[in-house]
Symmetry: C2
Subunit: 331 residues, 2 copies
């Protein structure tokens, strides 16, 4: 089943079921007012949503309407947790290599993960509004899961069973703020502004055989200013799968329903697959030529992130954003 | 006004207004179902809550009942953001000195801040449940504020006007997990388990003259296993006030209503004021004697954190917790 949250002027939007082909949708507020409310009581709510989804796909839903991704908020417009892993360790190794740093062996054995802001997510077509280009604006294309309740100390197998939904993420990063921030030792804060999400979140069964071993085995496409720059396979070179990432998060705490766990920037060792963030391209350039040529994003730049199934159909809809300058009165 | 959230079996509990003397309370669900809902629409909801608060204090509220802090969840049982500063830089300097590290000058000029898990807060009398004593279980007594909407790029003055509530926090830390985690560069994750909160959150006017310059000028008391161990003044040696902490958080993002921003462990340079976390005492011992004597918390240990006004009355009620072992079946 595919779920979206529509803009209605409220902070949490309105829950809608979206047809498999992303062409029609149906308001689901008779079942649950918001996606968080559905996740809070999933065992009771999900079957009702699934019934509506079947009706919608069969063309029998009474009040269906054309689905417009431009009306979408993030599936969870705000969430109680957003923890982003760095499961494509190749990406981490490249970044470190470009600055002459080695790779601690532990990075291959235990996930890197940071906690991001989750109070103000962006919808798939919302502008990325920032005050300064000099901050080094970058996109990061990722896959993310939304969990149910995962008890403290859960194993990866237990965590696997609590994966409720999958979606795509643009984990916008401010590259030039990162070095100073990480040097302070407390992790990212200002260098990770609001995160953006695909129009719909889908249950794992929607992925069919592409959902295997806790990974999504499909290419993730990034198109920057209309130019395809990356299509790495999200199922390749993912060193820690989603159940392992969730179990890492749950080691010393309960992880509650509606928590979002990200894969980190999708990256393949095969450089011909391109890149899911500009920083990686710059690292490759630095390693090869001694310095980076590709510049970070400018105001007006666009980024499109999408994943197609094996029949070429969009699974989650596309993230399609423009970078915009913060109005002076608020900057 | 003083607000609490009562356990009712739901994830978000039930909003209640609590009398100034913390003796009686009144359910406020006719005004707003939850504290988050109140914060989402504060300008409309707060005056109604204030009216009920006045009635309750005057003994005129019709359905008041005895206030029992043991029935409280955290004022926000889950929140969309929990960002903890480290405003008592003295504490940071001590910790670094104990391990022979110097203090970057920038630490006095720009706040340290990390993002914590906010999906599963503990109430004031909930057990601190953890799997292993060897993780180095420590309390951290702090003051925290709850914000309204703060736009990206807000100044400290603008942030000041969005401080809705104040409360106390026990930012439980797992000291022996911190070194490896910080060495990975992404900040705290497993080393910061669920955070605990005082029974009530209060509007700034409740503090009278003690709320001045964006700081709380009162001692914060920590009592460990029945023994008073700290009473540093939260208004002394706070290098960054709450408006500055919030503005730091809002530099590259909107901060939305219900965000919680912490002060970091309250710490005075005057060592006679004692300590608000065991790590600090251990640092002092290490600096003085070459090694730490005081051990971290054991299963069964208790911690009480409270702030009294100048008349000796509890402002927020007490955090009173016990450390407990996670049941084997889930560990």
């Amino acid at each position: 089943m595919k779920l979206a949250t529509l803009k209605d002027g409220s902070r949490d939007g309105q829950l809608a079921v979206v047809a498999r082909d992303l062409k029609t949708a149906h308001i689901a507020d008779g079942i649950a007012p918001t996606l968080q409310a559905a996740l809070d009581d999933w065992a009771f709510v999900a079957p009702q949503l699934a019934f509506l989804y079947d009706e919608l796909n069969a063309g029998r839903a009474r009040r269906s309407f054309e689905f417009d991704p431009g009306r979408c908020m993030a599936p969870l417009p705000r969430a109680y947790q957003w923890a982003d892993g760095s499961a494509y360790v190749n990406h981490v190794e490249l970044v470190r290599k470009a600055r002459g740093a080695g790779m601690p062996a532990s990075f291959w054995e235990e996930p890197l993960m940071y906690q991001g802001g989750s109070d103000d997510f962006l919808g798939p077509q919302d502008d990325i509004v920032l005050a300064r280009e000099e901050w080094g604006i970058d996109f990061e294309a990722e896959v993310a899961v939304v969990t149910g309740d995962v008890p403290m100390g859960a194993t990866p197998d237990e965590a696997y069973r609590q994966i409720r939904l999958l979606t795509l993420v643009n984990d916008v990063s401010l590259r030039n703020l990162i070095p100073d921030e990480l040097a302070k030792g407390f992790g990212f804060l200002q260098s990770k502004p609001a995160t953006s999400f695909a129009p719909v979140a889908v249950t794992p069964d929607e992925l069919g055989d592409a959902w295997k071993g806790g990974k999504v085995h499909l290419p993730l496409r990034s198109i920057w200013n209309g130019r395809p720059v990356g299509q790495p396979d999200a199922g390749v070179d993912m060193v820690f799968n989603f159940p392992q990432l969730i179990a890492h998060l749950a080691k010393t705490r309960n992880v509650r329903a509606g928590s979002i766990v990200g894969s980190g920037t999708v990256s393949n060792k095969d450089a011909s697959k391109g890149y899911s963030c500009i920083a990686e391209q710059r690292c490759l350039e630095t390693i090869e030529h001694g310095s980076a040529v590709t510049q970070f994003m400018r105001f007006g730049d666009t980024i499109r992130i999408e994943m197609l199934d094996e029949q070429g159909k969009s699974l989650f809809g596309a993230i399609e954003q423009k970078v915009a300058r913060l109005e002076a009165d608020a900057s």
